[in-house]
């Protein structure tokens, strides 16, 4: 009992600790880096390999994955020591509770210098404390990082990281292109037998379900998992609003008017719930989709009681294994379909930023600060460093044949080389979540299987939704905004469900918008626009 109380108190205490920690730091001033050049390379530009001129060591907060637990003697580390002259001293934290420990370490002032696996947005909580380095002040030390942002036109995404002081505090993982994974999976054998074409739009999707229902009257064709959050997310984008997993802060940006609005109170949102309401009322979609556990949705799909379900590339494999036992090999075919387009066009949501790193604010006082930044730049943002983190050492763990990377004979990675007895992650430390992420599409897709490559190719025609500008709240405004947003979102979620399942009549949509207003929707949007305008003026 006491343990649980400790656990719940963690976040509150962390916040308190941060305030305390904030008292004795001066995050405002930018450090003079000219004296912190121990081990740094005199000229370090795009294409250079980083090698410290003196042996250096940095502490590192390491998120430990049970499927490839940390080993001290990984080639990853020994190669860094020999080629980059850098030794990492990791603090090992089980990935299951990584965020709690990170919060504790930062709040108690004991955090390592490099804090890995931080998703954009997670850094906001630590900004006011001054415990985390405003890294945007020092990106001039990172040529590869700047080069990638310019080349891939990531400026809007990076601008989205800005905090109230105009700086940002996290170095995110950068992707060349959007990488869509979640979509709908179809029983393609049933489609083929019935002579139905794959749907390209949400209207066609409904037609397909109708035909399936006609041919198989005893089946509810679509029974979803993830409590419907995945399908609402992708459909929300296509309808020009936000829903499901995409709800996040509830805001949508109007490029014409240059202001934010609350997505779930808009006409587009009404269209979205009206559409899904029609699916449920016509018996095409299982109303339990929004309440049942993932397991029971999977059971229905894998036992042939439904033909459509949400999925990512990993889920597909799980479905297949189950169906081989329940339906028998060769009696089924499952595939991801390309995300359908909607009234807002053929658009998909998502971000090209991935989890990255934070730096302890104390690193700027180290004499090897410049070298640290150069090292990080090389490892996480240079083509060479990213390939090293993902594939390892050419000639040892992999070889290149005509531009295609091929694993060494005895090494396996996620079934790419089933004959291999060793594992790229378990035995060598490469392709692990702490070091390997982001990068060029070529690098990202170099470990995909044929099926996933085909899906990614088909998704190429989709347009990414424009990136919304940042809403850097001040401390007091952030608190106010969070306090308002939580009940607002609850109300949105409840009513999304009620409208779709028909518990509430769609004619009451206007009344619902009024309820949102009485829960502070207008004030919340006002706060967001205020923060955005302050940011836009400063820029």
């Amino acid at each position: 009992m006491i343990r649980r109380r400790d656990f719940l108190g963690l976040s509150a205490l962390a916040a308190f600790g941060l305030v305390m920690a904030g008292c004795d730091s001066d995050s405002g001033s930018k450090a003079d880096t000219s004296k912190a050049r121990n081990g740094a390379m005199d000229s370090f530009g795009v294409g250079d390999t980083f090698k410290a001129t003196a042996p250096l060591s940095f502490t590192f907060l390491f998120s430990d994955q049970p499927t490839y637990p940390y080993k001290k003697d990984w080639l990853l580390f020994s190669k860094m020591a020999s080629d980059n002259n850098v030794t990492l001293e990791p603090t090992i934290v089980p990935s299951s509770d990584y965020e709690q420990k990170r919060s504790l370490l930062i709040s108690s002032g004991k955090a390592p210098e490099i804090i890995a696996k931080t998703y954009p947005g997670q850094e906001s909580a630590y900004v006011s404390s001054g415990a985390v380095l405003p890294v945007s002040d020092y990106v001039d030390l990172m040529p590869h990082y700047q080069d990638k942002i310019k080349k891939w036109k990531l400026e809007p995404e990076i601008a989205g990281l800005t905090q109230e002081d105009g700086k940002y505090y996290v170095l995110p993982g950068l992707h060349e292109e959007l990488w869509p994974d979640y979509t709908l999976a179809f029983r393609t054998d049933v489609l083929e037998k019935d002579g139905i074409a794959e749907p390209k739009t949400w209207d066609e999707f409904r037609e397909v379900l109708r035909k399936l229902k006609k041919n198989h009257p005893d089946v509810v064709p679509f029974s979803d998992r993830f409590n419907g959050n995945s399908v609402l997310n992708i459909a929300g984008t296509a309808f020009g609003t936000v829903a499901g997993w995409g709800l996040v802060d509830g805001l949508t940006f109007d490029e014409g008017k240059k202001e934010f609005a609350f997505g779930a109170g808009s006409g587009q949102f009404k269209d979205l719930v009206t559409y899904f309401n029609s699916l449920v009322s016509e018996g095409l979609m299982d109303p339990e989709s929004f309440t049942q556990t993932d397991d029971s949705a999977i059971q229905k799909f894998t036992s042939g009681k439904s033909f459509v379900i949400s999925a990512n590339s990993q889920n597909i494999i799980t479905y297949r294994t189950s169906m081989e036992q329940s339906l028998g090999k060769g009696n089924f075919a499952v595939r991801k379909i390309t995300v359908p387009g909607g009234p807002a066009g053929d658009v998909i949501g998502g971000s090209r930023l991935e989890n990255g790193i934070m730096l302890n604010a104390s690193v700027k006082d180290k004499d090897s600060f410049v070298a640290l930044m150069q090292y990080i730049d090389w490892l996480f943002y240079s083509d060479e460093g990213q390939e090293f983190a993902k594939w390892g050492v050419q000639g040892t763990t992999y070889n290149k044949e005509g531009g295609k990377r091929i694993l060494a004979k005895d090494i396996n990675f996620q079934g790419l080389n089933p004959g291999g007895t060793k594992d790229l992650r378990v035995d060598y430390g490469f392709s692990g979540g702490n070091f390997a992420y982001g990068g060029t599409t070529d690098l990202l897709q170099s470990t995909f299987n044929e099926e996933e490559l085909a899906f990614q190719k088909a998704m190429k025609s989709k347009k990414p939704r424009p990136v919304a500008p940042p809403v850097p709240f001040s401390d007091t405004d952030r608190e106010q905004a969070t306090l308002t947003l939580t009940p607002l979102k609850d109300h949105v979620k409840q009513n999304t469900l009620k409208f779709i399942t028909g518990q509430r009549s769609l004619s009451e949509f206007d009344a619902y918008v009024k309820e949102l207003d009485s829960k502070g929707m207008g004030k919340y949007v006002e706060l967001a626009n205020k923060a955005y305008k302050a940011y836009a003026e400063k820029k």
């Binding site: 962390a14 499927t67 299951s96 799980t318 995909f448």
Partner: protein, 283 residues
């Protein structure tokens, strides 16, 4: 009479079945294959017999090292807790102790207030206990709840017994070790079980204060394992056994952690009887 016995037997069998069923179901799941688990077909017996997850976990040297740690931590922590709790409880159970209510007050105070997580973390780190066995076994060595149970047990022990022992020439410690403790087997066994189970299951202390995976108890290993497989695998690849492991990792974990406690229980249980002191004092 006979009818009563039949009904009684039948009723008790139903109760036994209801109590055992969840556990047997978990046991069956842990040996079943993914497809049957996902299809919800596993009840009392394993379907599609499969030991892949067991093999994976049991073949991991880290698992065994951490299992060893858990045994070590449980034994040491329980020993420390028992010594401290028993002596504390015996002292505050004596009505003639000066400042007795103050000592009780100090103990009870910690039930409602504590320093908080971050100050505790800073304290343990400053004491140099981080990344050592002591960080796991020393903080929270006395559970005030257990302390109060023991105190009231000692309070209910007839004073006449102790007086008689004292008259026969036993010192204060002699009374405690030769008379009071032998007569308290039931409460001592209960406390050992309480502490041992709590220590066996605990992971939070170790998670906070240990940074070296070689020192982790098995609970952290298994917790990480469960969380890991549910999010495992990066997209686009093929993972051969992730599905299987995800399907029954929880049941395997439960079986692996419950077995030792199940083995210990019958041995401790024989002390769970009352009436040891029946007739020891004539009033």
């Amino acid at each position: 009479m006979r009818l009563f016995r039949v009904v009684n037997l039948a009723f008790l069998l139903v109760v036994v079945f209801l109590t055992l069923y969840p556990f047997l179901n978990i046991l069956a799941q842990s040996f079943s294959s993914e497809g049957f688990i996902n299809a919800g077909k596993v009840n009392l017996f394993p379907m599609g017999f499969n030991t892949e997850t067991y093999q994976l976990i049991l073949a991991d040297s880290v698992f065994w090292r951490n299992y060893g740690n858990t045994i070590l931590y449980t034994v040491v922590a329980t020993a420390i807790s028992m010594v401290l709790t028993t002596s504390f409880a015996y002292a505050i159970a004596r009505k003639d102790l000066k400042g007795r209510s103050l000592f009780i007050g100090i103990a009870v105070f910690t039930m409602f207030f504590n320093g908080g997580l971050i100050p505790n973390y800073v304290l343990i780190t400053s004491l140099g206990m981080r990344d050592t066995l002591w960080a796991v076994v020393l903080p929270n060595a006395i559970s005030v709840f257990n302390l109060l149970i023991m105190k009231s047990f000692f309070e209910n022990m007839p004073r006449e017994l102790e007086e008689a022992a004292a008259i026969d020439g036993l010192t204060q410690y002699g009374v405690l070790f030769k008379v009071v403790l032998p007569l308290s087997k039931a409460i001592v066994a209960t406390m050992v079980l309480f502490y041992a189970v709590a220590n066996w299951n605990s992971w939070f202390q170790a998670f906070l204060y240990l940074d070296n995976p070689d020192l982790f108890p098995v609970t952290i290993y298994l917790r990480n394992m469960i969380a890991g497989v549910t999010t495992a695998g990066s997209a686009g690849g093929t993972a051969e056994n992730v599905g299987q492991i995800a399907a029954n990792i929880q049941s395997v974990t439960i079986v692996l952690t419950v077995i030792p406690i199940l083995c210990v229980y019958p041995f401790v249980q024989k002390y769970f009887f009352s009436g040891v002191m029946l007739g020891s004092v004539k009033e």
